[in-house]
């Protein structure tokens, strides 16, 4: 098996990176269209750990053929991905100010045009099959490249998720890691089948090696997200929607928010106080 020539970036402090991601997410939520804040905040620690020391990607060569791949299957959490990509140098942090504004590359869901976006997403239930395609290519090429797909828990009401999960399980596809951002909330309230144990059981039943972690504990995340993966592996991350901002935490209303200046200041103060 050939190894990727890329090393994972080493970010000395992924906790600080996650905090910076959250700050940028809140800033983008002040834009004209607001933003999907709740799920971006719940997955900020996962993204910070992935881009801080797990994924072998190079912001100077975002299309390097032997990079690890990342698919944000819960594409509405785009602002979190944009923040972490910008903070890691894939494009200027200043560009984040354009989110949702006419002419910006930063659409509400990840677009093809943006450096660091391996596959455009947004329609829920597509990312895992795409990731399986990435993993099959790597397997056949005999490389140790990894493919990481981040899904929502509500997203797993889409049948296509389980179609792809079963197919990957049958194919015993190596190098494929599916992370569930299990924040337990969707637009209309509680994710009815969103219990982490229940979700993990479903992945396990599809033939995936499965574990449940605290999605805000960086040490636990680093350990769980580390490769290599001999076969398909699922990590169900218990998270809190709106994590870090007290008035959003655990609130389904945080799903999509437009922040006024006053609310933004309040959110930033709570974010800082919580550190």
């Amino acid at each position: 098996m050939s190894r990727s020539h890329l090393a994972p970036p080493t970010c000395p402090d992924t906790v600080a990176l996650a905090a910076a991601v959250r700050e940028q997410v809140l800033q983008m939520a002040c834009g004209p269209e607001g933003a999907h804040v709740g799920g971006a905040l719940s997955s900020a620690d996962i993204l910070a750990c992935l881009y801080g020391g797990i994924l072998r990607v190079d912001p100077r060569a975002p299309a390097a053929p032997d990079r690890d791949r990342f698919v944000l299957s819960k594409g509405h959490a785009a602002v979190g991905l944009y923040a972490v990509l910008a903070l890691r140098g894939f494009f200027p942090v200043a560009e984040l100010a354009g989110f949702g504004r006419d002419g910006s590359r930063l659409t509400g869901h990840p677009p093809w045009e943006l450096p660091g976006v391996d596959f455009a997403t947004g329609s829920l239930g597509h990312g895992l099959a795409v990731g399986l395609g990435f993993a099959l290519a790597a397997q056949r090429a005999g490389t140790d490249q990894r493919t990481v797909v981040l899904l929502g828990d509500g997203e797993q009401q889409e049948g296509s998720v389980w179609e792809a999960a079963a197919a990957a399980g049958r194919m015993a596809s190596p190098g494929l890691l599916a992370i569930t951002d299990c924040n337990g909330l969707q637009i209309n309230g509680t994710v009815p089948d969103g219990d982490a144990d229940r979700i993990a059981a479903r992945w396990a039943a599809c033939g995936w090696r499965t574990e449940i972690v605290d999605g805000h504990d960086h040490a636990a995340l680093r350990e769980a997200l580390r490769g290599p993966d001999a076969g398909p592996r699922a990590v169900v991350a218990r998270t809190v929607k709106g994590k870090g901002v007290r008035f959003m935490q655990g609130q389904a209303r945080s799903h999509h928010v437009r922040l006024t200046e006053a609310l933004h200041s309040r959110a930033l103060r709570q974010l800082t106080a919580g550190r």
């Binding site: 053929p65 093809w112 391996d118 596959f119 455009a120 947004g122 329609s123 597509h126 895992l128 099959a129 795409v130 990731g131 399986l132 395609g133 990435f134 993993a135 099959l136 290519a137 790597a138 056949r140 296509s160 179609e163 792809a164 079963a166 197919a167 049958r170 194919m171």
Partner: protein
């Protein structure tokens, strides 16, 4: 006639030759039979069976193609084009990835299987996806030629095939180019533009019937419905008093619509559309029988053309 291979057999032979020559071409299966025992056994490292999971197969084809590979993804027309339409739209066509979707059982070719397997809206839906090449070969030979040509064709493509063996239209040494319609029979009173196996046979038979009456009915095989060969359509509109389209597909959105849109913009000419305006009634029927029930037969076509020419 019965000795002719099916379009699927011709496709498998052509794809086998392609895969032998190109290391980046894959065969993706969705438990449709015929591929595992041929290409799967011959090229095990580039064959994957996703099971009865067409949306997953198309999504994974997008992922594979995004890494520089060229997957041919196989299913039946309804499952590949209609069930997995969104995966095709977002994960293949939007990014312009070189996935080739190969679909058998198109139109009414599933015959006695019944309405669940009749697919007369796929071309209409897929023609609305910018950049997707839609191919509807008329026989086994042209299927093989188009598959070979697809390897050097940019962007995504949909290859629309029937189910059973059909008579040959083309000699083995024919030359076909994606995007170029082929004039199969001369005649300028009317030009019949046909796509797909039975429609092309029907058009050729109508040509012969009308020739006996002294009516010159030219026949064009429009094997590429998207992008349409607008030059050939405009040429036909200029030289003929009438254009008639024939397809194993709804009269809404397919070849007939494409031709009507083109001449309306570039060379106004009367267009009469023959196709599946509504599902065939009357229970079980074979492919040709079902098409004849909706007016796609040589006799119906000749009658339609005589009537339309008389009206002018």
């Amino acid at each position: 006639m019965s000795a002719a291979p099916s379009q699927k057999d011709a496709h498998i032979a052509a794809l086998g030759a392609v895969m032998a020559g190109r290391d980046d071409v894959w065969c993706l299966d969705s438990d449709v039979g015929g591929y595992r025992t041929t290409l799967g056994e011959r090229f095990p490292d580039r064959y994957r069976d996703f099971g009865i999971a067409e949306a997953t197969m198309i999504g994974a084809a997008g992922g594979l193609a995004a890494t520089g590979q060229m997957p041919f993804a196989h299913s039946l027309a309804g499952f590949a084009a209609v069930r997995a339409f969104e995966q095709l739209k977002l994960d293949v066509v939007a990014p312009g990835l070189p996935v080739r979707v190969v679909a058998t059982h198109s139109g009414l070719s599933a015959g006695h299987y019944g309405s669940s397997h009749h697919v007369c809206e796929d071309v209409a839906a897929l023609r609305a996806l910018p950049g997707l090449t839609v191919l509807t070969p008329a026989d086994a030979v042209s299927t093989g030629l188009l598959v070979a040509a697809l390897v050097d064709h940019p962007g995504p493509a949909y290859l629309r095939l029937g189910r059973k063996a059909v008579p040959s239209v083309y000699p083995r040494d024919a030359v076909l180019r994606i995007g170029e319609a082929v004039r199969l029979a001369p005649g300028d009173d009317v030009t019949v533009l046909a796509s797909g196996p039975v429609p092309v046979q029907v058009a050729l038979a109508a040509h012969r019937a009308l020739a006996a009456d002294g009516v010159g009915a030219g026949v064009l095989d429009v094997h590429t419905v998207a992008p349409l060969d607008t030059a050939a359509v405009v040429d036909a509109a200029v030289r003929s008093r009438l254009l008639v389209t024939v397809e194993d597909h709804s009269t809404v959105g397919g070849l007939g619509s494409a031709v009507a849109e083109t001449v309306a913009e570039l060379a106004p000419c009367r267009v009469v559309r023959a196709g599946v305006a509504s599902p065939p009634a009357g229970g079980v029927g074979g492919h040709e029988e079902l098409l004849s029930r909706v007016g796609v037969s040589a006799a119906s076509l000749a009658t339609t053309i005589r009537g339309a020419l008389a009206r002018r």
